[in-house]
Amino acid sequence: MWSEKYRPQSIIDMMGNEDARASFVEWFGKWKKGTKPLLLVGPPGIGKTTLANLAAKQFGYDMISLNASDVRNKNRIEEILSPILGNASILGSPMIFVDEVDGIYGRSDYGGAEALIKILKEPTVPIILAANSDLSTKMKSIKKVVKTIHLRPLPPRLVQLFLKKILKKENAKLSPGSLIKIISESRGDLRSMINSAQAIVTGFEPATGKSFESLDVESGVNAFFKANSIDEARSVLYSLRIDPREKINAFYSSVITSSISKSELDKMLQVLSQADMLFGKIMRTQQWRLLRYLDEILIGLYQKDSSVRYSQYNLSWPLLNRLRWDGKSIKELATILAKNMHISRSTFGTLYFPYMLFCIKNKKMNLDLEENFSDIIEKEIEKLA
């Protein structure tokens, strides 16, 4: 099972929730008799249990744990935990982990929460609790006697990063369509993401039920512009299941490099401008549900018999290279010099650099810089003329 195989081996290896992890470690580091117990709250599959286990290991504790699969009524809790609390020395350095505390309920766990709260009030060893939610009345009374740390679902960027890492280790590949599907459907739950990735890689790809199987970018964009009706274009768009940023950029580079009329170009770029704004909003607010409106905006690009075809790059090669190499050198130069002159890199490139080049060209300035900048300076001086 991949989700166990890829359980992180140390706290640093975990993904996301940096701040929460930092305060968790801090709590452990500073723990002394009487320190309030800690409650980790967060949705499934983001590392609560992992975190508790790893901390015990890293800080050298023997962990006594109770989870939802144990009966946790008053008697059981007292029976298991009291000896630890009473006479700690028997067991070396013990700690208590009550996982899934929000699962203590019902007749079988009768009195469990009350017994637990009593223990929580006088912590003689480190106690950690974990729960998915802290909203029930029982949780509210527990929260009064603990310090709470919230963990959040992981953002798609991190989910994707983690997925790619695993795929690399497994030497496995997924189509861009499945990739985006897995990521968006995981809703930031890494465990569920790993599980569906494993399912798909090992040959169980759920049927999409669409007439267009997931398309690669190139054939997708081309099929869109060649479509015979707006409905066909729409279904192409929907089956083009790739990262939304990639989707917008693919249409952008195709549109911008095509030879369509000025007014047509203006119209299409308007559409892409809207799409970009929606995506910007999604990124900022992390409201991924808004993504469903993206295709409705992009459909505005459709026009029957359009001459637009897919293009991967939106710039010519010479310019692309200039961007990559010269742009990089100038940025390095700007980073060094702008600081010295108390200006931004932008001001440097716009207002200072040209004058410097001019003075160097006229042999009135000698830039005492590292060797590797001389090429770019020479090149740019030539461009001055």
């Binding site: 203006d266 010519s316 100038i330 108390h342 931004s344």
Partner: protein, 318 residues
């Protein structure tokens, strides 16, 4: 020679408040604030480019902190370090060691080009300013004060810098000419003022460039003027209005991705360029630019927004 002495703007940047050219009222009130340093409020400097905002901030740091200025000043440029987290982290670490030195009244954080921060980032900054107020004073600097949110403005004493009048620019240029042993004539210096429009930084840069050719004469000034990339933005606008969208876009991308011009600087310069074109649709064009200025803030990929801007501008050609 140190890198910062290469450029005369840097070499002749004043180190004392009293040496500042012009800006007399501001200098006056700052000096009276300095009489009671521990009571000094946070400061916000606004105004056009190259008129002494950053210079005054650095002078203040020298005068208040004396020999400790280097360790006790944090200079951040929001245009380079956009993320609020970056700012927050650096401010936090910086303010942590405060109070160690009893010889200084507080530490100084200069946040240059603060108008480059998004409203969200500024909102976060508002807390940071409060949290560190015991130990630190902020000096915020912005070209466009309307881009600074009200709660921040309200936490600062605001100073609006004006462009520098011709006689002061010319006088300052003459001083530099003397020290650099240049030969200059009145027409040459007047020409520099014409081109630089009260931006002292531009004036000094132009002086240096001209000097690299020879004497400061009108003819030499003309040859050296128009070197800045601001001129290229004028060209981008012209290409767009002429309907040459692809050329316009290539040039725009070169400016931003090769020379590092920020998107907001690009918009600032293209906006200024519109007024130079005397196009009959001037107000429509300016509104279009304003629209995309906003869209860049809400979008994810500025390149798409700027390309769309250029495409839309083609409408306003002849």
């Amino acid at each position: 020679m140190s890198v910062s002495d290469l450029m005369w703007v840097e070499k002749y940047r004043p180190h004392k408040i009293a040496e500042l050219v012009d800006q007399k009222e501001i200098v006056g009130s700052i000096q009276s604030l300095l009489k009671n340093q521990s009571e000094m409020p946070h400061l916000l400097f606004s105004g056009s480019a190259g008129v002494g905002k950053t210079t005054l901030a650095l002078c203040l740091s020298h005068e208040i902190l004396g020999e400790h200025w280097k360790d006790s000043t944090l200079e951040l440029n929001a245009s380079d370090e956009r993320g609020i987290n970056m700012v927050r982290d650096r401010v936090k670490t910086f303010s942590r060691y405060a109070g160690l030195d009893s010889k200084i009244p507080f530490k100084i954080i200069i946040l240059d080009e603060a108008d480059e921060m998004t409203a969200d980032a500024q909102t976060a900054l508002r807390r940071i300013i409060e949290d560190t107020a015991k130990i630190c004073r902020f000096i915020l600097i912005a070209n466009n004060i309307s881009k600074i949110i009200d709660p921040i403005q309200s936490r600062c004493a605001v100073f609006k810098f004006s462009t520098i009048p011709e006689k002061d620019v010319v006088f300052h240029l003459k001083e530099i000419s003397k020290k650099e042993k240049l030969k200059s004539d009145e027409n040459g210096l007047a020409a520099i003022y014409e081109y630089s429009e009260g931006d002292l930084r531009h004036a000094i840069n132009l002086l240096q460039a001209t000097a690299s050719l020879g004497d400061i004469t009108e003819a030499n000034v003309k040859t050296s003027a128009g070197l800045t990339k601001v001129k290229d933005v004028d060209i981008v606008l012209k290409l767009a209005l002429d309907g040459k969208i692809s050329d316009a876009r290539n040039k725009m991308i070169e400016l931003i991705k090769v020379y590092g011009m920020s998107e907001s600087d690009f918009l600032k310069y293209i906006n200024a360029a519109v007024y130079k074109t005397k196009n009959k649709n001037l107000s429509d064009i300016v509104q279009t630019i304003a629209k995309y200025d906003f869209r860049i803030l809400s979008g994810a990929n500025p390149e798409i927004q700027l390309s769309a801007l250029l495409a839309e501008l083609t409408k306003f050609g002849k």
